[in-house]
Assembly symmetry: C4
Homo-oligomer: 206 residues x 4
């Protein structure tokens, strides 16, 4: 019903709201790191180094959420039209992202247990699947700036978005060996993503 | 006193500030979920599944606040003029939204008690009534982009905005049976909202 | 050095950053409200009504910070030029605002003591003085959209900005009688502000 | 692949996301200040003044993060083009900034110990080095609005960005004397930064 210009503003507001929720979730990750209460005789240095698994979960979660933000950023650069369904799918994606700080605190506190590693993997995979769903919906029925985004680019974006949930789901059985083995596998997502992007750039230099 | 363009920027800033407050409130909902302190012998999986009512209140609150954001988004797409009263009513709406994380933590912690369910219902209904008040004020005296938004659309928006407070207030007596019965009734707000929107689209295809 | 258009964007970014900090501070106010740990026999309703002073400090602080945001919003509608000093003064204002949630938690917890009431008054007055300083600097040396904002409007804005710090400083001695007497005096700031605005509108209808 | 205008929007979104993360981190600094639980006989005034080191760490951290924001603001005023590497470096900078509230809580709680002072210095220096890396990358290969930003301005910006990490790293050995001596040295960063800027303005009046 509203004008073309107001549509553009409304789209920007969706992007803005998403950015704000992701920015808050990513920054709250650090709130989960807390020094235990020390008495005057305690060693502050030992307490700081004793938080190793919290630093690890903070850094991994920050990079993962940062990568999801980057995916969202790339996706909405080419979205032109939106409807209520796209907004609702996007809210479900944000719901998953807002849940990551809790999952990150669980892995920071109990990273050496299998339930914590499984729980974290499922939450991260859910974020990825939700983002992929937004993308699947947005890239159909002429919702993209179609003249600027060829089908091959749509497919390569879909492939890259599949990477994170696939890695985190494939790493699930590795928790049977040891949670730490699964965590090392998670880190593989980053070089894999770089490699995929490089191969695509060689095939379709933009 | 300022120019037309500066008026547009000032309106955008109100929208922006609202988005930021709603985004923070919606993301803080997850901060209320906390794993209890575990000793080394405790079962992490049991602790995670034991937080069921916290997950429920997080998801319901996220979807409710998300729906209020969507209503605010729809409303301000068609607002053209603003004054201090509109800003003040909007601040009252934001005050209610900022209070939701506390209400959500109460229902997450004590969802099986009637006072918690009544308190939560009242807070959610207050949000809806505050948003409706902003809309009632904004949709009068030529504050909307009038040529693009016919009276029938104003009325259908008003009806949709009434839905959430009405559902949460009607569910109040159900807490007398059991808090969980009221909660199931809350969830009815979502399919009802979809249905209302579908009927309207059939009547006034935009 | 940069272009006119980039200057406009840089100014918008300052406004945006301020909005974000104020929005976060205002939403964090509700984080300070926490239900005490209850055991199964405890009365949830009694616990909820027992938080009365926390609700009061939340509402007063929300309205005060909201009013400071509204002042900031009005001020930056007419600012055209900025320099590093304006940015630094603005950061000092934001520092004061970011401190309000702590002051609000102090008054919520210990509102019946004189030190808490004095501390809160000083923090709120500091915010107002900092905002006034930003305005004093911004309204000089042709930093405003001068053709649209006459000297009389500058003076009336200054007067309105003086109101909050003056009320909170004048209420300080009232804490000697009882902290609650001072709190009632704080609430006087809101009708006073409305009245000042109404009188000005009658004198200079815009 | 997308249009020029969409590139501009995408760049603004990076800036926006950074602003949001920095705004949240800077506002969360105050969350680390908490009044200890008092029993009815305790002195609220004594408890408030007893938080001296927390206020100090809040103010120092707020000003430091504010200065990093100002640096980021200046930097992105002249950035014209971006790529994935620039976004990733920027995310690493934001990771460091999001970690500051934790470092600030450590210095607030244990500021009189050497490990806390060393830890804080390293975190603040890491932020500065990360921001410098973003700038080094952004200022090469024609990523700046080159006609508006001469090489001399690039070099002076680089020098100013080096200041904070250099001060915080040089202050490290001072913690051997006493943590408080290092803290006084930190404060030297602010007048030094003013002085550098004044000298440059005299050499290259813009």
């Amino acid at each position: 019903v509203a004008s073309e210009e107001s549509d553009q503003l409304a789209l920007e507001r969706i992007v803005f709201f998403s950015d704000a929720v992701i920015a808050i979730a990513i920054t709250l990750l650090a709130l989960e790191i807390r020094l235990p209460e020390l008495t005057s005789g305690d060693d502050v240095a030992a307490a700081l180094t004793g938080l190793g698994s919290h630093y690890f979960s903070f850094v991994v979660s920050f990079l993962v959420v940062g990568a999801y933000w980057l995916g969202h950023h790339r996706m909405f650069r080419v979205v032109r039209r939106f409807d209520d369904t796209l907004i609702r799918l996007n809210i479900l994606f944000l719901l998953c992202v807002a849940f990551v700080p809790f999952a990150s605190s669980v892995i920071g506190e109990h990273g050496d247990t299998r339930p914590a590693a499984v729980f974290y993997s499922l939450v991260i995979a859910a974020c990825g699947i939700a983002e992929l769903t937004v993308w699947m919906y947005a890239s159909h029925r002429h919702r993209l700036i179609d003249d600027a985004f060829p089908p091959a680019a749509v497919r390569s974006t879909t492939r890259r978005m599949l990477l994170a949930p696939v890695v985190f789901l494939l790493a699930l059985p590795l928790t049977l060996i040891h949670p730490y083995v699964a965590m090392v596998a998670w880190l593989a997502a980053f070089p894999l993503s770089f490699a995929m992007r490089r191969i695509e750039h060689r095939q379709h230099p933009a």
